[in-house]
Symmetry: C2
Subunit: 374 residues, 2 copies
C-alpha cells in the first residue's frame, strides 16, 4: 500500500503494531512550546532525535523554531534534504567520512552548525572545509557534569575555543551545553536548582569567552524538563527540547512548575496500537507488540490506554502479555489496544512511519527517516 491509501482509515484498520500520533495533542504541544519561547524571548531549535521525521521538523519550523537539532549525521542529512535550515549536529564526530558528509551539507551559510568539544573534531572539520572553500559554523560543546562528551569548562575549554576561532574554515558562534542529569530531576524547584548549578558552569565559561571578544551569540541547550528554567536562570538563547512533542510516561513523572506531581506542561500524543492475537487463557491475552515494538530501556512498561487495571509485560520480540487486576476486564481476541510509550525516542526509532490521526481517523502518514543509525 502506498502511504496515501491509509488516509481516512480508522486507526483500528491499521496493521499492527502501528505508531500513531494524536494530532490534537501533538499540535497542542507544538504551540505550547512555541508560545513559551516567544514569551521568554528564547529561541528554540527542537531535537529531531525524538521523531526522526522531516514532516514534524517542518511543523516545528512553521511554529517558529529557528532550526532543528540532529543527533546523527544521517539525521542531519535527512533534515537538510527535506529543506530544513539551521540543522545543529549536537553529537561529536571524529571520523573523516562523517565530517566530510557534514561539510557536504553546508551549501549555504546557516544550513548546518556543529557542536565541537575536542581539538581533533575541530581540526578534522577545518581540514575538510578549507579545500572546498566552505566556512562551517561551530559551537563550543561543554560538559557540565554529564561526563558524556564536550570540553570541561575551564582553561581547556577556553583554549579550545581560541583554537577553533583561529582554525581556517570554522566560525565560532557560541556554546552548547546539555545537562541530561537535570532533565529528569523530579520536582520543579529541585530541577531548577540542579540545572542552574550545572548550566551555570557553561554560562560562566561563556562570559569569559565573550570577554575575550569571541562570538558567544548562541547558547544552546536545555530539555523538555528544563525548557522553562535555563532561559531564565542562565541566559540560554535556544532550547533543544525534543520529547515535548510526544511526551512519554518517563517524563510525566518529573512534576510541573505549577506544583503538580504529574508533568502536564505537555500532553502524551504518541501511542502504539496492537492487536490481541491470542486469548486462549482466561487470565491473560497476547498482543502483537513486544521488544521490537517498544524500546525496553525504561523501567516503566507500556501503559494500556483506556484499559484501567490492565497491565502489560514483555513476552518476546514480537509479543506482549496483558493481565487484568481483580474486577478489570481484559480485551478480547481481535481487539485493538493502544499503549502509551515509556520512552519515545528509541520507540519511534523502531518504526518506518508515524500515522498522524485526528480523533480515530488517519489524516496523514509521515515517514521517519535515518533509521540507519550512522
Amino acid at each position: 500500500m502506498v502511504f496515501e491509501a491509509y488516509i481516512g482509515l480508522h486507526c483500528d484498520e491499521l496493521s499492527t503494531p502501528a505508531l500513531v500520533v494524536d494530532l490534537d495533542e501533538f499540535e497542542w504541544n507544538l504551540k505550547t512550546m512555541a508560545d513559551a519561547c516567544r514569551a521568554s524571548g528564547c529561541g528554540f531549535r527542537p531535537h529531531a532525535k525524538s521523531h526522526k521525521c522531516p514532516e514534524i521538523a517542518k511543523r516545528q519550523i512553521a511554529a517558529g523554531a529557528i532550526g532543528i537539532c540532529a543527533a546523527t549525521v544521517a539525521e542531519a542529512e535527512a533534515l537538510v534534504h527535506a529543506g530544513i535550515n539551521g540543522v545543529l549536529l549536537t553529537s561529536p564526530i571524529v571520523d573523516y567520512e562523517k565530517v566530510r558528509r557534514m561539510v557536504a551539507l553546508a551549501n549555504k551559510p546557516g544550513t548546518v552548525l556543529l557542536a565541537v568539544g575536542h581539538l581533533l573534531e575541530a581540526r578534522l572539520l577545518s581540514e575538510a572545509a578549507t579545500p572546498v572553500g566552505k566556512v562551517i559554523d561551530v559551537l563550543l560543546d561543554l560538559d557540565v557534569g554529564d561526563r558524556r562528551f564536550g570540553a570541561i569548562p575551564g582553561p581547556d575549554a577556553v583554549a579550545l575555543a581560541e583554537n577553533i576561532d583561529k582554525l581556517p574554515g570554522l566560525r565560532l558562534r557560541g556554546i552548547q551545553a546539555y545537562s541530561g542529569k537535570s532533565a529528569h530531576v523530579a520536582g520543579f524547584e529541585a530541577r531548577l536548582a540542579h540545572s542552574r548549578e550545572r548550566m551555570g558552569l557553561a554560562a560562566a565559561c561563556r562570559s569569559e569567552l565573550a570577554a575575550k571578544g569571541l562570538d558567544m551569540g548562541i547558547f544552546s541547550g536545555a530539555s523538555t524538563g528544563t525548557y522553562n528554567i535555563d532561559p531564565v536562570t542562565v541566559g540560554l538563547t535556544e532550547i533543544q527540547a525534543g520529547s515535548y512533542i510526544f511526551m512519554d510516561t518517563e517524563y510525566r513523572l518529573v512534576g510541573s512548575s505549577g506544583g503538580s506531581s504529574v508533568y502536564n506542561d505537555f500532553r502524551p500524543s504518541l501511542k502504539v496500537i496492537a492487536t490481541v492475537v491470542s486469548a486462549a487463557h482466561g487470565d491473560c491475552v497476547t498482543v502483537d507488540a513486544g521488544i521490537k515494538a517498544f524500546a525496553t530501556d525504561s523501567e516503566s512498561l507500556p501503559e494500556p490506554f483506556r484499559w484501567p487495571g490492565v497491565r502489560y509485560r514483555r513476552f518476546g520480540d514480537e509479543f506482549g502479555h496483558l493481565t487484568a487486576e481483580t474486577g478489570a476486564s481484559l480485551p478480547r481476541l481481535g481487539d485493538r489496544v493502544a499503549f502509551l510509550v515509556p520512552h519515545c525516542d528509541p520507540t519511534v526509532n523502531l518504526y518506518d512511519r508515524v500515522y498522524a490521526a485526528r480523533g480515530d481517523r488517519v489524516e496523514a502518514v509521515w515517514p521517519t527517516v535515518a533509521r540507519r543509525e550512522s
Copy 2:
C-alpha cells in the same frame, strides 16, 4: 554511498555504529546446523526473525533448509519477494488485511504455510483464500506451556484440527509447537528434560490426530537451544532455530551437550562496531552506540571484543560509556571498538544493513528488510 562502494573497505572505515557479521564464523554456523540436520534426518526451516535478511535466507536455503520461518507478514512478504519458498508464518494473525496479504503471497503450492491456533484465524484464512481459488497450507499451532499463543493440546486442539481440515481453502499439513521456556534452560540434560516434557504434549496430540487420519506430516518447532533435542526425543520433523546463525551472549550461557558451561555448538558471528567519540576524562570514554544501537531487553550488556577488563554501560539513546578495571587499558579518542551483542534478534532489527566481513574487509553488504514491524 551505494552499497557496492563499501565492498573492500576495512571495517574500521565504516561509519559507526555498524552491524558486522564475521563470514568465517557465520559460514561455520550455517554448515554446522545443516550437517546436524542431515545427520539426524530432521529438516530445518530456520527463523528469519533473527536476521530479517533475504541474503542470509538464501544462504540457509543453499545449505539445505526446506524453507524459512517468518514472525511477521512483512517478513514473509520480503522473503517470498526475494524468491524464497516454503515460508512459514509462525505467528497468529487475526485481522483481515494481514490475512489477505498472506493469501496474496500464496501463488504456488508450497510458497507459504501458516500456523493457526484458533478457529477465528482459520475462518479468516478460509474466507480470504476461497474466493480467489487458493488452497493454503496450515499447521495446527499448539501451546505447550508458553501461554503465548496456540491451541492447548487436548480436546479443543483436536476439534480445531478437525475444523481446519473441513474448511474450504485450507489444507492441514501437521503441527507447530514452540517451547520458548525450554530454549534457555541452562545445562544440556535439564534442557532436554524440560523440552521433552513440553514438546511431548504436542507429540501426543500429533499421534491422536494422525490416528484420526489427519495429515500430520510436519512437526515444526525447536530453537537454537533444542535443535539437537527435539528431533530425537519427540520426532520433530523440522527445526525453526534462528539465533544459531549469529549466536549472542545470552545463548552462550545455556551450556552444551558436550558438558561445556559455555554453549559452543555455534560461534558468535555478529558484532556492532562503535567509535570512541569523547575521552575527556581519565577513567571513562564515550562510544557512539547506545540504546538505538543495541537492544536493551537483556540483562546482559554489550561485551567489548578483545578489550579485556573493559565494560560497557548505556549512556543515552546514541551513546555508551566504557570503563576499565584496574590494570586494563581504555581505547582512545577515535578508536573503533567491536561489541558482542546480548540479544541478536532485536539488535539486528535496529539496522538497515549488515556488513558481511571476511577478516577485517567488507565482502558484501546485505540489506535487512521488513523493519516495518507489521
